[in-house]
Every structure is written in C-alpha cells, then in structure tokens.
C-alpha cells in the first residue's frame, strides 16, 4: 500500500510538469498585456515598457518558464502582478473557502443522492422512485446559474432567510486558524459564528450539490438494481438477515464502487473551483480568483493556482483508488 502511494506521488511529477507547460503556454497565447491591464488604457508607452521589464515579461518565454519552475522548486508560487502579494498568501484563505464549500456540497450530494438511489432501487417503480428519478433528471439538466439566482431571489430577497453572498456577514468575526470557517468556529466555540457560516454555506452548497446529487442518485439506483439480482443477495435473504442489513450492507457495499467513481470525479471538478457558483454567490474561493486573474492577465496567479488545483485533483483520485481497494478486496493496487 505504502509502495503504491509513493509510486503514485512520483508519477505526480510528470503530470504537474505537463500541466505547468500547458497553462504557461495557454495563458501566454491568449492576447492581452498584463502591464496594460494594470496601468489602464491611458497609460503612456514608457511606463508600460518599464513595468514589462520589471515583471520580466520581456524575457524569452523559456527564461520566464524556467524562472517559474525554479521558484516552484523552492516552494515559491510566485507573486501576483496585481496585488504584489505572494500567491501563497492569496490562496491561504481562498483554497479553504473552496474546499469547505465543496465538502459541504458533496456531503449533501452523497447523503441525499445515495439514499434516494437506494430507496428508488429497492422500491422500483414506486411513487418515490418516479419522483426522485424525475427530480434527478431535472437536477442534471437545470442551469446552475439560474437555480442560484432563483434561490437568491426567493430565500434572500423575498423571504430574507439566507444571506446572498460571501462567507460571513459583516460584523461577524471568526478567528482564522485553519481558514475552514465551520471548523474554526467550532474550535473557538464561537456558536453564533458557526450559525452565520452555516447560513452562508447553505445556498451555494445546495446549488453546487445539485448536479452531483442527481448523478449519484441515478448511478446508485442502477448499480443497486443490478446488485440486488446477484446470487449473494439471494444468499443473504436465505440466511434470514434483516432487510436493512441486506440492502445497506450486502447490496450497497457492492453497488458503491461505480458510485465512488462518480463521487471522485465530481469532487475533483468542484474542487477545481466552481466558477459559476462562486461568482453568483460572491464566494471568495479559487474558482472566482482564477477567473479574475485570467481577466487581469495575472500570469503568476493563474499558473500557480491551476497547478495547485491539479495537485488536489490528483490527490482526490489517489484517495478514490485507495477507497476502491478498501471496499473491494479483489481489487489489487499493484
């Protein structure tokens, strides 16, 4: 097992090199000039040239890329053109913001999706099955920005129950330890803070959960239907086991493998920054951050952040593969 993990981590190096080359070339290929976007359209040529020189933009691409890699090797993610702050500082709170939102959304998606899928399979063609599967079809096809806006309109504007944007209300303080606010508020026993964080998470969490929840429900249902016809389920019934044991242990553990694949993939996608959701709910996460940085041609931020996202993606995959082995003893990791 340890060998396997080490091997996978070594394989990470070529993957990251590839990703870095791709992002580097893509961001330099799109037209636009960081200096001009920083100084504005009315800036004079001299100031622009000086700034370009200062940012190292006049160096050959290879030199620029080499410098980026060199810094990276020393653990330096570079400095933002725009804010002059180290990229790592920028990510310190944004990355936890995205991870927290993703975990929250995936928790909703997994619990609701798996439960709905299991019940639908066990009670195939019942009203519950029909209802939840229709719901799931809506879930995969609904445009998230529309759903998000509708939720804001209803719960924030009309009813005034939930905050429409951000991670915290102004005036609420949370001592940042991990930058995961739910966790931080628990650690500091700040219950009013916890409630505020939770309220802020609800709408973007549900919006973000919609698609994965629907896919997980569909996948769980079809996988469960297949497993429920297997001989070992008949054996479990013939042993006189209680129905919940047959369904939630014997069947679900077998049915869970394809669902796990879906969960892993969705997790990766969401962690990569749910740009749309983060934008609608003004969530200070990395999705929105990358988007803004691309628009501002803030090369170091884009390059490093995308690299960080790639690392997370690979880790999520690694964890998924290890879980596979844990669920199905027949799978060998070597």
């Amino acid at each position: 097992m340890l060998n396997y993990i080490i091997r996978r981590l070594v394989m990470l190096i070529p993957v990251l090199l590839g990703v870095s080359i791709l992002t580097f070339s893509m961001i330099h290929m799109i037209p636009g000039d960081p200096a001009r976007s920083m100084l504005g359209t009315k800036a004079n040529e001299k100031a622009l040239t000086e700034l370009r020189e200062e940012l190292g933009l006049n160096d050959p691409y290879l030199v620029q890329y080499g410098k980026f890699l060199g810094d990276l090797a020393q653990g330096d993610l570079g400095t933002s053109f725009k804010t002059k702050a180290p990229v790592s500082d920028e990510l310190e709170s944004r990355l936890p913001a995205t991870i927290e939102l993703t975990l929250f959304a995936m928790a909703i998606a997994m619990v609701v999706g798996v439960l709905a899928g299991v019940i639908s399979a066990v009670k195939q063609y019942s009203w519950f099955d029909n209802l939840s599967m229709t719901g799931a079809l809506f879930g995969v096809s609904i445009p998230i920005f529309w759903l998000g806006l509708m939720m804001i309109w209803l719960f924030s504007v009309k009813l005034g129950w939930l905050p429409a944007s951000g991670r915290l209300s102004s005036g609420v303080e949370i001592e940042a330890i991990t930058h995961f606010y739910l966790l931080d508020s628990i650690l500091t026993l700040n219950w009013s803070g916890f409630a505020d964080v939770f309220k802020h998470l609800l709408m973007p969490g549900v919006a973000l959960a919609t698609i994965p929840m629907a896919i997980i429900a569909l996948m769980t249902r079809s996988s469960m239907l297949e497993v429920m016809n297997q001989d070992y389920i008949r054996t479990a019934d013939a042993k006189g086991l209680a129905t919940y044991l047959v369904v939630f242990q014997h069947a679900l553990k077998n049915a869970f493998l394809p669902v796990l694949t879906v969960i892993g993939l969705q997790f990766g996608f969401l962690l990569g920054g749910a740009v749309l959701t983060e934008t609608i709910f003004s969530w200070p996460g990395i999705g929105r951050f990358v988007l803004q940085s691309i628009l501002a041609r803030d090369y170091p931020v884009v390059q490093s952040t995308i690299l960080v996202i790639a690392v997370i993606f690979v880790f999520v995959n690694l964890i998924t593969d290890i879980l596979y082995k844990y669920i199905d003893p027949r799978i060998s990791l070597d």
């Binding site: 070992y232 086991l241 209680a242 553990k253 003893p329």
Partner: protein
C-alpha cells in the same frame, strides 16, 4: 415406526405474472420429507424444481412471482401464512439453503467470518466471540483446513470446492432441520462433486437433518437420495423410492433421463438423450405436457392431461400408458 414428516408441501402453485403471460412455473407439486431423509427433486432447467425450493423458503420475487395456491407445512405450521418477520427467523435457522454456484453465492466484499458471524448472531443470542468459535467449529466440520486462520479470508481466496464447503458451513450454522441443496455440485469439477456429496451424506448422518436435493442429474440422486420426485413443466411426473425408480422407471421422461445419465468422466453433458426443448410454460400444449417430446405418445396424449396416480403402492406416475382404458375415456 412411522415418523412424522418435518416438511410437507401440498399442491403448491407458483406462477409468474409477466407481460407476455402467466408462467406456471410450479403447478401442483406435493411431497413430504421426514427427518434424516434425503429427497431428490430431478428435472431439466425450467422444470420448476428450483422455484419449488424458493417457494418453500418464500424467496420468490413478488412481483412478478406469486405463490397462488397450496400449503407448505413445516412441523405442521403453514409457512405461507407466516409474516415476513417470522419467515426471516426460520430462514437460515430451521430451514437453510445451499445454492448452485459457490463463486457467486458468497458476498465478494465481506470476509467469511463476517458472513458466518452475522448469520449466527441473527438467529442466536451469542457474543461475537462465541459466534466466531462456532464458525471455526463449522468450518472444521465441513473439512476446511486451518479453519481459524481462514476466517479472515475473502471468498475469492478459496477454491470453488472450498467455497461450496463454506456455503454448506453457512447453511449449517444454526443446526437446520431441513437443508435445501439447489444443484450444490453442478458448478464444480467432477472429483470435487463427489467430495461434496460425501460431505453432505456424512453431515446428514451426524446431524440428522432432512435434505431436499435439487438436481438435474439422476447420478446424484442415485448416490444420496432415499426417494425421488421427477418434475417436468412445473408438475411432478414420477415419484417413488430411489431403488424402485431405478429398477422400474415408469415415465417416458424418466427413461430419457436415465439413458442420459452421463458417465463419471463427462457428467457435464446434460440430458442430451431427450430430444426437443421443454415446453413454453406460458402456453402448455393440450394434453400431456411431455407429449411433443415423448417417443411413446399416443393420439389421446395430445388431448387428455394424465393424472398423477399411485399405479403401484408408493410409486406415482403421470402417464396415460398406465391408465385403464375406461378411465381415459371418461
């Protein structure tokens, strides 16, 4: 001394209500079995023998399946009137089952220990440790070497024969009074088949349970059974003591089965001596169901459905060859 039967099946009818029609998978089956006895149920696939077993266990999937008529008396109580919960406390406890394919009948993602312990703890109020000890005892009993250390293994770490031994151990966990074995050797190699049959015979002598042996193979019946029921198209067609059946087979279908008993070396060739296919159970031919394949079919066989009659004491046959002339015409 006449012993009371432990299990009596009376006039069992199990039908499947499908879109393309009603499949009468089991259509009037009756038999009884005494403690310590082995009853064989023989027939081709689709003859209703497995559905009979599943009906006794109340494991028929509903819908589309339904037990539409009959009684299944276990120690005098009708299992078909039991609640689901009562049935669960009987299954795997007093009546248990061994299935055909040991490769797929054990859950691949749980250890043997987990699968055995959960069965024992479902039916007996014992601690986990006691359940584990019992599991070791059972694996010993069915001849699995170094039982305790094998408990932590997963099914795929056992060979086919060993897995079937695990299945048998599982079925025996709670000292069942009736063991239903549904083609327990069909999926196994010939040499392993013999070992498993020997094991079942030995266990029966030691534990005294009744065994319902479901098979397509008269060779298996000859080896282990006391009495045998031959089924065709959901109905019993012949029923007698095993020696009587082999000495004086009466039904043309049984003759076919006999001539197709394979030699030990190629037991895999199944029943090829009977030409034709089993009938479509949604649309049985008029008269005797076997008539389209019967070498001895007469004109009346296509019109009159023969009754299941005791033509000689303790030997039932469903065939017009043995009917009195007058009876047929009425």
């Amino acid at each position: 001394m006449e012993q009371e039967p432990i299990l009596q099946v009376e006039n069992l009818h199990t039908h499947f209500f499908t879109k393309s029609g009603v499949v009468k998978a089991v259509d009037g089956v009756s038999f009884d079995i005494k403690p310590g006895e082995t009853l064989g149920i023989v027939g081709e696939s689709g003859s209703g023998k497995s559905i009979t077993a599943m009906s006794i266990m109340r494991l028929i999937k509903d819908p589309p399946g339904k037990i539409v008529d009959g009684r299944v008396l276990f120690k005098g109580e009708n299992l078909l009137e039991k609640s689901k919960k009562e049935m669960r406390s009987i299954r795997g406890n007093q009546i248990s089952m061994v299935f055909q394919d040991p490769m797929t009948s054990l859950n691949p993602v749980f250890t043997v220990e987990k699968q055995m312990v959960e069965t024992i703890q479902t039916h007996r109020k014992v601690s986990k440790k006691e359940a584990i000890d019992r599991a070791v005892e059972l694996l010993d009993l069915v001849g699995i070497p170094s039982a305790r250390s094998r408990l932590k293994s997963y099914p795929h770490e056992f060979s086919g024969g060993m897995r079937q031994r695990v299945m048998i151990a599982l079925a025996l966990s709670c000292d069942p009074e009736v063991l239903i074995a549904d083609e327990p050797t069909t999926a196994l190699d010939v040499t392993i088949q013999a070992q498993i049959l020997e094991l079942l015979e030995r266990l029966q002598k030691e534990l005294g349970m009744a065994i319902v042996m479901i098979t397509h193979d008269l060779g298996v019946v000859a080896e282990v059974c006391d009495r045998v029921m031959v089924m065709y198209a959901g109905k019993p067609v012949e029923f007698s003591e095993v020696t009587e059946l082999f000495d004086h087979p009466k039904h043309p279908y049984t003759w076919g089965l006999m001539s197709s008993i394979p030699q030990i070396k190629n037991r895999q060739d199944r029943l090829e001596a009977i030409s034709g296919l089993p009938p479509d159970l949604r649309d049985l031919p008029q008269g005797c169901s076997f008539a389209p394949r019967c070498k001895h079919a007469m004109d009346k066989c296509h019109e009159v459905d023969p009754a299941f009659r005791e033509h000689i004491p303790a030997h039932h046959v469903r065939c017009l060859l043995y009917e009195e002339k007058e009876e047929v015409t009425t």
